[in-house]
C-alpha cells in the first residue's frame, strides 16, 4: 500500500492522478459542518429548547404568596436594566418552599420597573410553576420563544443538511474516477442538444411584425436597482449617524470620533444619490429598445430578419445593431468567485446615423442578420458559456452612449451525411 499523492501530474496526453487527498479533505470539511451543526443544535437544545419545554410540560403549577419583592439590576458595559423580582412561598411535596422569581423581563428605566413592582402587593397570591426535580426553581409565566425555536431548528438543520449532503457526495464519489462521478451525479441524458441552453424564455413573446420579440439581458434595470438600494441603505445609515451626532450637539456633547466620520460618509451618500438619479434619467430619457426576429433558435449560415424599434425623443447620433459572440468563464480566485467575459466575434448588422425622434413616436427599421456558416453554437456548462446576442448600441444627443443586449440561442447546423461505417483501424 503506497501513500497517496498530494498532487496530480499531467504528463503529455496522460495523467497520473490520485484524488484521495482531495476527497479526504472534502469529506472532512463536510463532516466538520455536520459536527458543528450537531454541536450547535445540541447547545441550543439543551440551553434553550429543553428548559423551555420542561417549563411548559414538566413544571408543576402551584399557588404562591408574595412574601417579598425587589428589583434585580443588571449592568453591562452599554446599558443598565431592571426587572421586578418576587419572593414567593408555595407548597411542594417537600413542604413549604420559598424562592425568587422574575416577571416582566428586563426594563430600561428604573421608574417603570418600580411601577410594575408596585402593582403587586405583599401577601398577594399568584400562580407559579416549579420544577418537581428542583422545587427551588420557579417561574411566573409559561410559553415559547418562537424565534429561539426557529433558530434552534433552522441554523443547525442547515449546517447538518449542507454538510450531510456534501458528506454523502464525498462517500458516494470516494475513489471513483472523474468520469464515473460525472455519470453518477449527472447521468448520461438523451437530450437532443446537450450543453446548449434552452431558448424557451426567448420564444414566448410574439413580435408585432416579426415572429418573436427578444427580451433584453436586463442589466440596465439591475444597475438602477443596485444604485437605488445602495443610495437608500447608505443614506439611512448616514441619517442615523447624523441624528445621533445632532442630538449629542444639542445635549452639549461633541463626539470627536463620529463627526469626522460623517464627512466622508456624506460624500459617499451624495455620490450614491447622484449616481442613482443619473442612471434613472439615463434609463428613462433614452427610451426603450425593442428587437424582433423572424425565427429562433438560430442556425449557422442562416439568414434572419430583425426589426429594431427605438423610442425616445431628440436626435440619436447613431444607432447600430451588432451580432456578438461572448465567452464567459467562472473561476475561483482565493475565496472569491469571478466571471470573466470576452467578446470573440462581432459583426455589424445595420447602422443608422442622425435619427430624429419626436416624442410619442419610435424609430423602426428592418435589417438582415446572417450567421457565419462555421459559427460556434451556444454552449453552457456549470462554469463556462459561449453566448450569442444581438446588441443595440446608440448615442443620443446630450446623453452618454448606451448598449442593450438581446440574447439569442444558436443551435449547431444539421450534420452532413458523412456517416459511413467506421473505417478500419490503422495501428
Amino acid at each position: 500500500m503506497r501513500f497517496p499523492r498530494f498532487f496530480a501530474k499531467k504528463r503529455g496526453h496522460r495523467r497520473t492522478v490520485s484524488e484521495v487527498w482531495g476527497s479526504v479533505a472534502e469529506g472532512l470539511f463536510h463532516a466538520g459542518l455536520v459536527v458543528a451543526g450537531l454541536v450547535f443544535g445540541g447547545l441550543l437544545a439543551t440551553g434553550v429548547a429543553v428548559p423551555e419545554w420542561r417549563i411548559n410540560h414538566r413544571f408543576v403549577e402551584a399557588e404562591a404568596i408574595v412574601v417579598g419583592k425587589g428589583l434585580a439590576r443588571r449592568t453591562t458595559a452599554r446599558e443598565r436594566t431592571w426587572e421586578p423580582a418576587f419572593r414567593l412561598r408555595y407548597e411542594t411535596p417537600a413542604g413549604p418552599t420559598e424562592a425568587w422569581a422574575f416577571r416582566g423581563g428586563p426594563i430600561a428605566t428604573r421608574a417603570r420597573a418600580v411601577a410594575l413592582l408596585a402593582d403587586v402587593s405583599l401577601d398577594a397570591t399568584m400562580p407559579c410553576w416549579y420544577d418537581p426535580d428542583a422545587p427551588g426553581t420557579v417561574v411566573l409565566a409559561r410559553g415559547y420563544n418562537w424565534w429561539m425555536w426557529l433558530l434552534t431548528l433552522l441554523l443547525p438543520s442547515a449546517l447538518v443538511g449542507f454538510g450531510g449532503a456534501g458528506l454523502v457526495r464525498s462517500i458516494v464519489g470516494w475513489r471513483k474516477s472523474e468520469e464515473r462521478r460525472a455519470v453518477t451525479f449527472r447521468p448520461i441524458a438523451a437530450h437532443p442538444h446537450p450543453a446548449i441552453p434552452s431558448c424557451d424564455d426567448l420564444v414566448n413573446s410574439p413580435g408585432t411584425v416579426l415572429r418573436f420579440r427578444l427580451p433584453t439581458s436586463g442589466t440596465e434595470g439591475w444597475n438602477l436597482l443596485g444604485f437605488g438600494l445602495f443610495a437608500l441603505l447608505w443614506n439611512t445609515v448616514l441619517t442615523v449617524l447624523a441624528v445621533t451626532a445632532g442630538l449629542d450637539l444639542i445635549g452639549g456633547r461633541i463626539d470627536w470620533l463620529l463627526l469626522p466620520i460623517l464627512v466622508p460618509f456624506a460624500v459617499v451618500g451624495i455620490t450614491g444619490i447622484v449616481m442613482f438619479v443619473r442612471q434613472l434619467v439615463l434609463t428613462s430619457a433614452v427610451g426603450t429598445t425593442q428587437l424582433e426576429i423572424s425565427d429562433h433558435p438560430l442556425r449557422p449560415g442562416g439568414h434572419y430578419d430583425v426589426l429594431l424599434a427605438q423610442s425616445g425623443s431628440g436626435v440619436f447620433q447613431n444607432l447600430t445593431v451588432t451580432l456578438e459572440l461572448e465567452e464567459q468563464a467562472t473561476f475561483r480566485q482565493g475565496t472569491d468567485t469571478r466571471t470573466e467575459r470576452l467578446v470573440v466575434w462581432r459583426s455589424t448588422v445595420a447602422s443608422w446615423k442622425d435619427v430624429q425622434l419626436a416624442p410619442g413616436t419610435r424609430f423602426e427599421a428592418k435589417a438582415r442578420l446572417t450567421l457565419p456558416a462555421t459559427a460556434m453554437h451556444s454552449f453552457v456548462s456549470e462554469h463556462n458559456a459561449v453566448s450569442w446576442r444581438v446588441v443595440v448600441h446608440g448615442r443620443a444627443a446630450r446623453w452618454p452612449a448606451f448598449s442593450r443586449g438581446f440574447p439569442v440561442v444558436v443551435h449547431p447546423v444539421a450534420p452532413s451525411p458523412r456517416h459511413a461505417e467506421p473505417q478500419e483501424m490503422s495501428l
Partner: protein, 140 residues
C-alpha cells in the same frame, strides 16, 4: 495513433487509434476507438473504465460531460480489455469542439486502468467534433 509510452517502463503505455484517420468527426457520427495496453511487468489491473467525453479548458473551472462510460470489473473481461480492445458510440449533436480564447471545449476518449495497489492511470486521446474555427479577441 497516440500512445502513452513511458520510457522508464514504470507506467503503462496505452496506444489508441480512431476510426477517422484525421480524428475529426461530425456530430451524430459513429466513433470507434481501438487501443492496446502495455503494462509494466508487476502491474495487476483490477478494473478498466472507458469513456468518451468532453471537457472545458481555459480560464474557468473545468466542466465535464460524459457521453459514453463503461466500467469493466469482471476478471476475464478486464484481461480482455487490457490486452487490446475497442469501444465506441454515436456522438451527440453538441457540443462541438471549440478553440476559444478563455473557453475551450475538447472531446476525448479515455482509458483508465485501476491497479490492485490502489493507484489508477488514465490515458487521454483527443479528437475533434465539428469544424468551428479558432476564435480570436475582438478589439473593443
Amino acid at each position: 495513433m497516440t500512445s502513452g509510452l513511458d520510457t522508464a517502463g514504470r507506467f503503462p503505455a496505452v496506444t489508441a487509434s480512431f476510426s477517422s484517420a484525421d480524428r475529426r468527426y461530425e456530430p451524430l457520427e459513429e466513433i470507434l476507438v481501438r487501443y492496446t495496453v502495455e503494462l509494466p511487468p508487476t502491474a495487476v489491473v483490477r478494473s478498466v473504465e472507458r469513456s468518451i467525453l468532453w471537457y472545458t479548458e481555459g480560464k474557468g473551472e473545468e466542466d465535464i460531460g460524459v457521453h459514453f462510460f463503461e466500467r469493466i470489473t469482471e476478471r476475464a473481461a478486464v484481461t480482455e480489455a487490457t490486452a487490446g480492445s475497442s469501444f465506441g458510440a454515436r456522438l451527440p449533436s453538441s457540443p462541438l469542439s471549440y478553440e476559444g480564447v478563455i473557453v475551450k471545449i475538447r472531446w476525448c476518449a479515455r482509458v483508465r486502468l485501476f491497479f490492485e495497489e490502489g493507484r489508477d492511470f488514465v490515458s487521454e486521446h483527443v479528437f475533434e467534433v465539428g469544424h468551428v474555427p479558432v476564435a480570436t479577441i475582438v478589439p473593443s
